[in-house]
C-alpha cells in the first residue's frame, strides 16, 4: 500500500532530475532555495521559450493532438510540475476520449532538453514521473514518451517499464526524505561538479570537509604571526 501525499506535501517534479544527478544539488535547490543561472540553464530556458513561444496551447495534427504546458501532479509520488508537451496519439484501444475529437487517444509526454542524451537516468525519470502524473490524473495508460535533445535535434523514445517506474518511485521517496530532514548532504567533489549550475553556491571544494574552515583560521593566524 503506497501512501498518498496531500496537496501541501507536493514537491516540484523537476527536483527529481536533481536528486538523480546529485542529492546535494537537490537539497540546495529545495532546502536552500538556491538556483543559479549558468550558461546551460539560461540557454535551456531560452529553448523552452522557443518551444512554447507563440505556439497555440492545443493543436491537432492528423492523428496527434499536441498540448503544451500541461500542469501535472501525482499524489502517489508527491510531485507537481509542468509538462513541456503532451501529445495524444490516436489509438484503437486503451485510450481516453478528448473533448472535441472523436475516438480514443493515448497520452505521450515529450520533454525538451537543451543538451545531449545523458548516460544516467535523470531525464528519463523526470519524464516517467510525468507519465505517472498523467496516468493518475487522466486514468489513462502511458506506456511511452520521448525526450527531444536540442544538441542533436533528435527525439529519444523512452519506455516506462517496471524498472523505470520503480526507480522513479524510489527517487520520489528519497526526495521527500531529503526535504523532511532539512539538512544538506555533504558535497562530494566529482566530475559532474565542474558543470553544475549550483557549484558557486555549493562550494564543493570547501564544504563538507571536517575542520576545513577552523583549520584555515588557525593557519592564517599562525602564518601572519610569523611575518608580523
Amino acid at each position: 500500500m503506497t501512501r498518498l501525499y496531500s496537496d501541501d506535501e507536493l514537491l516540484a517534479l523537476s527536483l527529481l532530475q536533481h536528486i538523480m544527478f546529485c542529492e546535494r544539488q537537490c537539497s540546495l535547490n529545495s532546502n536552500e532555495q538556491l538556483w543559479f543561472d549558468n550558461k546551460l540553464t539560461v540557454s535551456g530556458s531560452q529553448l523552452h521559450r522557443r518551444v512554447h513561444g507563440d505556439a497555440p496551447r492545443r493543436e491537432k495534427r492528423g492523428d496527434v493532438i499536441v498540448v503544451r504546458e500541461l500542469l501535472l501532479c501525482s499524489h502517489s509520488l508527491g510531485v507537481t510540475g509542468k509538462a513541456d508537451v503532451v501529445e495524444f496519439h490516436r489509438v484503437s484501444i486503451n485510450g481516453i476520449s478528448m473533448e472535441g475529437c472523436d475516438g480514443l487517444w493515448q497520452p505521450f509526454p515529450v520533454e525538451y532538453k537543451h543538451g545531449k542524451p545523458k548516460v544516467d537516468d535523470c531525464d528519463r525519470v523526470q519524464l516517467c514521473a510525468q507519465a505517472i502524473c498523467l496516468e493518475e490524473m487522466l486514468g489513462a495508460e502511458v506506456p511511452e514518451g520521448a525526450i527531444f535533445y536540442g544538441r542533436i535535434q533528435k527525439r529519444e523514445a523512452v519506455v516506462f517499464d517496471p524498472v523505470m517506474r520503480r526507480t522513479t518511485c524510489d527517487s520520489a521517496s528519497k526526495l521527500h526524505a531529503l526535504v523532511e530532514g532539512g539538512r544538506n548532504p555533504p558535497a562530494v567533489f566529482r566530475d559532474g561538479c565542474t558543470h553544475c549550475a549550483m557549484k558557486d553556491a555549493c562550494m564543493p571544494e570547501v564544504t563538507g570537509l571536517r575542520e576545513k574552515a577552523s583549520g584555515y583560521i588557525v593557519r592564517a593566524l599562525s602564518g601572519n604571526d610569523a611575518d608580523g
Binding site: 536552500e32 574552515a213 583560521i217 592564517a220 593566524l221 601572519n224 608580523g228
Partner: protein, 342 residues
Amino acid sequence: MKKHLNTVYVTTPGAYLSLEGEAILVKTDGEVKGRLPMHMLESIVCFGHVGISPPLMFAACERGICIAWFTERGRFQARVGGPVSGNILLRKAQYRSSEEPSCKAQIARSFVIGKIANCRSILQRNVRDHPEKAGSDAKEAVDALSGSLRCASECLDVDTLRGIEGMAANYYYGVFDGMIHVDEDSLRFRNRSRRPPLDRVNALLSFIYTMLVHDCVSALEGVGLDPQAGYLHADRPGRPSLALDLMEEFRSFIADRLVLSLINRRQVTPSGFTVTETGAVLMDDDTRKTVLVGYQERKNEELRHPFLEEQVTVGMLPHLQARLLARHLRGDLDAYPPFFVK
C-alpha cells in the same frame, strides 16, 4: 554566480530613471542623459532627489538589483528590493545561533579576528613600504594588534571580544595618521569622529563605510540572511547588526585603503569640503563623485580569495563571505572563515 557586479551611483539632483527595454534611461529636466544596460548590475544607488519609475523598480527587483536612496550627505534613506530571498531554514539557524552563547561567540570571534588581522596587514604594509616615515609607533601598534589577535583567538565570550576589538581599534586609529603622506594640516587624522565627522578624513571614512554597509546588507539579503540579526554587534531595532559584523573584516582593506590612496595621490584636496559652523565637515559634490568613482574602481580590482583560492573581484567579497556564513550556519562548514588580506 554573477562575476562582475556593478553599482550605478546617481548623484545628479532631479535625475529621473526609467525602463527602456533592457536598459535604464537616465533623464534630467526631461532631457535624455544616457542609457545603461541592466545586466551586470547589482545595485542602483541614488543620492538626494532622484526619481525612479515603478516599471524600472519592478524590473530591477525581478533581476535581483537593489535600489537604495541616500541623502546628498550619504545618510541612508530607503531601499527597494524584491521578495525576501533565501529560506526559512537558514534564517532560523541564524536566529538560533545568535541566541546560543557559544555559537554566537564563535562567529563573533571570526569577525573580530578578520578585522584585527586586516588592520594589522595594512599597518605592516605601510611600515614595509615607507620605513623612513613609519615611526616606532606603527611598529608598536603592529605588535599590539598581534597581541589582540592572540587574545581574540582564545576568547569565546562576546563581551570580552567587543572589548578586545575596541582596544585594537584604538591601537589602529592611534597610528592611522602616520599612513597619510601629504603635508596639509587639514588632511590630518586625529581620532575617529562619526556623528558628525569633525575632519575631512573622517568625512571620507564615514561616507565610504556607509556605502560598504549598504553593500553588505545587499550581500546578506542576497543569500537570504537577515541583515539585522548580528553576533558581534548587539541587536538594536533598525540597526543592520549583521551587516556591520560582516563589514568589519573589509573596513581597512576596502575603505581605509581607498581613503588613504585618495589623499596620498591628491585626488581629494582640502578645498573639496565644507566645514560648517559646528565643525562638522561635509564633502562637496565633486569630492563625492571622485570618492564614488574610486570606490567603484576599488571594487573592480581582482585578488585571490584566500579561503576559496579563486580569483575574485573586491566587490564580490561581501557576497562570498555572506555565502560562507550561510554555509556555516547550515552546517556545511565547521566555522565561519573570515576574509584575510594576504
